[in-house]
């Protein structure tokens, strides 16, 4: 059984909310991530996505990461992707997506960048 998919929301620095994602990011779970992240966007908060506990990412998960970046950018907000797990890192590298995603080595660095 794959690890249960979980999203933990943290307050961040007041202007950005941190979401820590755990488990498989595939077609069955990306809907939850998109829904949660979109609710944060409607609050006017930027987003830091901590992906250190993502144990698998399918193409639908990649699509969700890209779409969130675009949706936030359109309303003047930013998504920062922090602490990519090795599987996420591998797929991002494979698809050369780093120029389209704002990536930080750590969650703290992502928040500092926001400040």
């Amino acid at each position: 059984m794959p690890e249960a998919f979980q999203i933990e929301e943290l307050a961040g620095d007041g202007t950005r909310t941190v979401l820590r994602v755990r488990g498989h990011l595939n077609a069955a779970t990306t809907g939850q991530l998109l829904s949660h992240a979109r609710s944060i966007r409607t609050r006017g908060h930027g987003l830091v996505l901590n992906l250190s506990q993502v144990s698998f990412i399918a193409s639908s998960g990649v699509g969700a990461l890209l779409a969130l970046g675009e949706e936030y950018r359109e309303v003047g907000l930013e998504v920062c992707y922090a602490e990519l797990s090795s599987v996420v890192d591998s797929v991002i590298k494979l698809l050369n997506l780093d120029s389209f995603l704002t990536i930080a080595a750590t969650e703290e660095e992502a928040l500092r960048r926001a400040a």
């Binding site: 990649v62 699509g63 591998s90 780093d98």
Partner: protein, 723 residues
């Protein structure tokens, strides 16, 4: 409990004292004694009635009394005037009038004023002697009084604050020679009325007391059966349903007691029925459990064959039974049976049948002989009229041939992939136990059916074909089964079970099952070769990997096309995993990859990418190629035996879903914001960037074939730039 009962008791029923409101919790509220309520109501009504009548009577009495008093005053005044006429003409009128008036007042003490004055206003007649000779202005300081009496000239009614008086003239030969006045205190009437009122109140009090006593005694008598009722109901409530409540009297409470007694008797019958039902339900649960334990709980995969079964129980436990099991020599036994008789009895027969089958199945290679032996063993223990229809077949997985015999069981249906048609093999035997004396054996015959790749054989009980539609008039029939098989057999044996279940559910219109529905399906996966004689590949549900060492044999045939050549090579030299067409099944790809020793040297990054690419390819087939979650397809790993870095091998996917459009793939342009917003459609990007070649052949004779070549050295991975 005792506390609760005492609180719910009707207040004051046993003590006769006015009870305080008793609270028995927030839900029940205060309790009041009915007799007190009725008594209070009776008192209230009596008092209201008497007071109402009293008030009305008092008004009438006051009016009548006033009229009578006025008339009397007037009459007295007139009489006094007549009597005074001659006296006033005498020399000493006071000698006549004083005794007269004194006597009159003595007789009528209510007349506080009796006086006769002469024309000079001197008192000539008065009850008090000392007043004689005083001058008196009769009516002085008084006002007029409106009376209903008819007055003669000179007469008048007068009043002051405390008196009412009548003044009448004393005449002689038409000349007024004096005046008489008769008066009473105005309080006289009030005094009389008050006295009358006091009498009335006394009567009222007496009546009220009587009403209380009578109503209380009457209610006590009427309500005394309630205690009997309450005690009886408490006993019934504690489960003593034999207790009969005896209520004396002919009131409705007696009728209520009879009703309660009847109810208790009916409750006892219902309770006994319920206990019996529970006992039967327990037996049925037991039977269901026994039946469930006897049925296989997972499908059997052996070589290219998969045999799977399903049993949908009707409300009542039926007598259906099926099983499949390995036999020696790479064979598989398949049995489907239907016992005439349901419930625990049918279940016990199934238990006997299963035990006998287990004992004999390895001794007999001929289905006919096994069924004959079962008939001999089972028949003596069956009650008259009971019998068992049974199909028993033995599959030889090295040839794809199934030898079977049928004892009065339903026809066997075989879908032929080559023609798309369904063949029907009817039974020639009679049911086990139907006729004694070895007759059954003479009707049984071994028959053989040769299966081919993609063929599907089903066996079933009559609950399938006899399923009634929503009108209850039309059966599903074997024709319905044949039509369904022709449309859906390519989904494979496991999926076809779900298809039948769904189709029958629709056919019933959601109504309950009238009978157990048992179906066993045996399918030949066209993508997998036959297991050679002498080898067994009973890999089970989880492990569907053909050991690579055993796959070094030559392909069964020379493949004509490139896709078939790759598939033939994979079948000859590769390992496979069978995947269900649902996303959850894709997790098993990772486990399968990790078990591969020839991928052990792959670093973590390339392993993750390889798994991701295969996940995408397989998910694509599962999600888009099939409309059913329980169909299956096969993923082969065909390693290249090349040393050092470079091409590791090929993955060959074989599926029978709807083919994709073989459009040329173009890489997604991530510079386009619209592409970045679309959330999906990047699976092929991953596959093409991980695999060094991707080839797809739709709708070949072996299904849709995809060949993915994997070379970890060809995977380009650039460093990620951090913000």
């Amino acid at each position: 409990m005792a506390d609760t009962r005492s609180k719910s008791r009707i207040g004051g029923s046993g003590t006769g004292t006015m009870p305080a409101p008793v609270h028995s919790g927030s839900r029940s509220g205060p309790r009041w004694g009915m007799r007190w309520i009725v008594s209070a109501v009776a008192v209230g009504l009596t008092a209201a009635a008497v007071l109402g009548v009293g008030v009305f009577q008092e008004r009438s009495t006051r009016r009548a009394l006033t009229d009578e008093l006025e008339a009397r005053l007037l009459l007295e005044a007139r009489n006094l005037s007549l009597a005074s006429s001659s006296a006033l003409l005498s020399d000493f009128p006071e000698l006549t009038l004083h005794p007269l008036l004194k006597e009159k007042q003595a007789r009528n003490p209510e007349f506080v004023l009796l006086v006769v004055v002469d024309h000079e206003a001197k008192i000539q007649g008065h009850p008090e002697f000392r007043r004689l000779g005083e001058t008196l202005e009769v009516g002085g300081g008084c006002s007029g009084y409106a009376s209903t009496q008819e007055l003669d000239p000179g007469e008048s009614f007068l009043q002051d604050d405390s008196h009412l008086l009548v003044v009448a003239p004393v005449e002689y030969q038409g000349q007024r020679i004096g005046t008489t006045a008769v008066g009473i205190e105005r309080g006289y009437i009030d005094r009389i009325i008050r006295e009358a009122r006091l009498k009335l109140l006394g009567v009222l009090g007496a009546f009220l007391g009587l009403a209380v006593i009578v109503s209380f005694v009457t209610m006590t008598g009427l309500l005394s059966p309630i205690d009997d009722l309450r005690r009886g109901l408490e006993r019934i409530g504690r489960g003593d349903l034999d207790h009969a409540i005896e209520v004396r009297g002919r009131t409705e409470l007696g009728l209520l007691a009879n009703t309660v007694n009847t109810m208790a008797a009916e409750l006892k019958v219902a309770q006994e029925e319920m206990v019996e039902k529970e006992r039967l339900a327990h037996e049925l649960d037991l039977a269901r459990e026994i039946q469930s334990r006897l049925l296989p709980h997972e499908r059997r995969a052996t070589g290219p064959f998969v045999v799977d079964g399903s049993h949908q129980a009707a409300f009542e436990v039926g007598g259906d039974y099926y099983d499949y099991f390995p036999l020696s020599g790479g064979r598989t036994g398949i049995v489907v049976a239907d016992v005439a008789g349901k419930g625990l009895a049918g279940c016990l027969v199934i238990s006997m049948l299963a035990a006998l089958l287990k004992a004999y199945r390895d001794r007999y290679d001929s289905p006919k002989e096994l069924l004959t032996k079962l008939d001999e063993s089972l028949a003596p223990d069956l009650r008259p009229g009971a019998f068992v229809t049974m199909f028993y077949g033995i599959l030889d997985e090295s040839t794809g041939s199934i030898c079977f015999a049928s004892a009065g069981h339903m026809p066997t249906l075989v879908y032929r992939a080559a023609t798309g048609e369904v063949e029907e093999f009817r039974s020639r035997g009679i049911p086990l136990g139907a006729v004694r004396g070895g007759v059954v054996a003479r009707t049984l015959h071994d028959e053989s059916v040769q299966l081919g790749p993609g063929d599907l054989l089903i066996q079933y009980t009559d609950g399938i074909n006899e399923t009634l539609d929503v009108t209850g008039d039309v059966q599903f029939e074997i024709e319905g089964m044949r039509a369904l098989l022709e449309r859906k057999s390519k989904l494979g044996p496991t999926a076809i079970l779900d298809v039948f279940r769904d189709e029958l559910e629709t056919w019933r219109g959601g109504g309950p099952r009238q009978d157990d529905e048992t179906l066993v399906a045996l399918g030949w996966d066209a993508a997998i070769p036959l297991t050679p004689v002498g080898e067994t590949s009973d890999s089970g549900e989880e492990a569907k990997v053909v050991p690579i060492d055993s796959a070094l044999r030559a392909p069964a045939s020379v493949a004509a096309t490139e896709s078939e050549r790759w598939l033939a090579l994979a079948e000859a030299q590769g390992d496979r995993i069978v995947l269900a067409t649902k996303i959850e099944a894709m997790d098993s790809i990772e486990k399968w990859l990790r078990r591969r020793s020839d991928l052990e040297d792959l670093d973590a990054i390339h392993f993750d990418l390889l798994y991701t690419a295969l996940y995408e390819a397989c998910t694509n087939i599962a999600e888009h190629g099939y409309g059913h979650p329980n169909a299956e397809f096969v993923l082969w790993w065909l390693p290249e035996r090349r040393s050092g870095n470079g091409l590791l091998g090929r993955f060959v996917l074989v599926d029978h879903g709807d083919p994709f459009s073989p459009d040329n793939w173009t890489a997604s342009d991530f510079h386009d914001p619209m592409v970045r917003r679309r959330t999906r459609g990047f699976g092929l990007d991953i596959i093409h960037r991980v695999m060094c070649s991707v080839n797809y052949w739709p709708s070949t004779s072996r299904g849709n074939i995809t060949v993915l070549a994997f070379d970890p050295t060809a995977v380009e991975i650039k460093e990620v730039r951090h913000a």
